[in-house]
Amino acid sequence: MSSRVEILNDGGYRSDGRRQYELRDIDIDLSQQGTADGCCTITHGLTQVLVTVFGPKEAKMRSQTLHDRAVINVEMNVLPFSTGERRRRARADRRILELAATIKSTFEPVVQTTLYPRSQIDIFVQVLQQDGGLLHACINATTLALISAGIPMTDFVCAVSGGVHSTSPLLDLTTLEENDLPHMTVAVMPRTGKVTLVALETRLHVDRFADIFRLAGDAGQALHKEMKRAVKSRATRLVGAMETGMKPPMGGADAFERDVVMEDKMSF
């Protein structure tokens, strides 16, 4: 741990002023984007991810069609201006492909794909800004985008990253901390507490693993409340909007004849 930045100071504060177990500010935006069936922008601290979901729709790749369930297709794009130094990554960058594959395998057990045989669900992940916790932001945003697309899932998937500084575990690392500390990402399903993903790319002492794992599980529950609140408030607004516009259609009794008579009697 020979970094010039003090990861955790004596007062128990991290470089950005957070406590050990404190998460960064989360902002969830579920508003409609273009023609997507579901979309979500999550801003988690300085990490910002936009996920759009299209589908379930007709599978365009015949060879990959499954006759008993839907295929999940994840495409990820890291925008060149998302990091500190501007860098254009190739679409087929190994690291990006791996992240996309991770997201896909995280959601395969959760999405009820068997309800949509021969279909395809497209998930497009756009990374707009990154400052640590990229994978967990992507997973959380994908969960919410899938929910807003009305795709049946057994539960939310709430992911959070955790690391350890000497012996003290930290949650939700920034890039600065990720560069210096061993860290992992855990995705939990809050209702059952089941874990759909544990990603560990650095070496972590086995004694510390259990601590972080348990902490990340708890943090997942906290995130779940926040995500659920966002979903509920969006649903309330949409249902409310649908009810405000409700007026009984005009001409109750003579409406029956409409299919025969094209000239409708509709006065202003």
């Binding site: 935006d29 508003s31 409609q32 984007q33 273009g34 023609t35 069936d37 579901g38 589908g55 379930p56 729709k57 007709e58 839907a70 009820q112 949509y116 045989p117 021969r118 279909s119 929910i147 807003s148 697309a149 009305g150 795709i151 049946p152 899932m153 057994t154 539960d155 939310f156 399903m189 809050p190 209702r191 059952t192 409340k225 659920k228 979903v231 509920k232 969006r234 649903a235 309330t236 607004r237 949409l238 249902v239 909007a241 649908m242 405000t244 516009g245 409700m246 007026k247 259609p249 005009m250 409406a255 029956f256 409409r258 299919d259 008579v261 094209m262 000239e263 409708d264 509709m266 202003f268």
Partner: protein, 313 residues
Amino acid sequence: MISFASFPVPSQNETQGMTRHHPDVEDDIDMDEGFEEGFHRLTSPGEPLTSSQAFMRGHGTYIDNDEVISSVAGTVERVNKLISVRAVRSRYNPEVGDLVVGRITEVQPRRWKVDANSRQDAVLMLSSVNLPGGVQRRKLESDELQMRTFFEEGDLLVAEVQAFFADGAMSLHTRSLRYGKLRNGQLVTVPPALIRRLKSHFLSLPCGVDLILGLNGYIWASKHVKQSEQEGEEAFDAEAVYSNKNDDIDDATRLAISRVSNIIRILAAHFIPLTDTLLLDAYEWAVEQEGDVKDLLQADIGDAMIATIAARD
């Protein structure tokens, strides 16, 4: 492609109005919602609804550990012992008899594939379309060879859901003179939830615009065709039915069509279900404004329109 943020960033007072409770007491406050019939209760995936011993699970739910659990975010619906959850937004779920507007995506042996905003492309069999030369005519091999003269890739059509295949794909038919190829107009796409089942999905507005409200959320706004000019049963005119050419549309009609389309787009962006009264109110308002048709799509004008027509209730 013009797109809207369907709900702009909530203003400050709205977020302030949202009460937040301490995490320890939050659950108790959420719990006091009842389960009465006809009462809208919102739920989200993974939320237990009730015991599976006493209730049956419907769409949008699954059973785990003797509990009926919601799998989508939406409103809980209960019919006697059947609990189901209707998602707020989802793709179109077809039912037999529904009127849909679709677009041909593929021509296959003896069938067309039609994109109808559903989970799979719909199928339109050659045997379920009206062919030139009378309704009773037999299908010949030559018909199979010239399928593209009837419908080509990219053609829009209005049809009815006839049946389902084993895998849930829907089969369409156009065996009515009201169904068939679409021309003289413009397609508008809205979320399928915004189209209610009506007595008739063929509307004809007094401004000279015909609307076909497909239950799949595809809406066709076109020039008004007089009843007398519509093809009769005897004079089934194949030339006219499968024609790819638009009729002459005068400027006033073009303006009316785009005005109606823009109004539909605004209503959809505000997630308001389409009704004929609402459309007419909005059209009247739009004409009164005397602005350019394209100005309707500006956020402030759209909001003003919604505010006005909502106040007319």
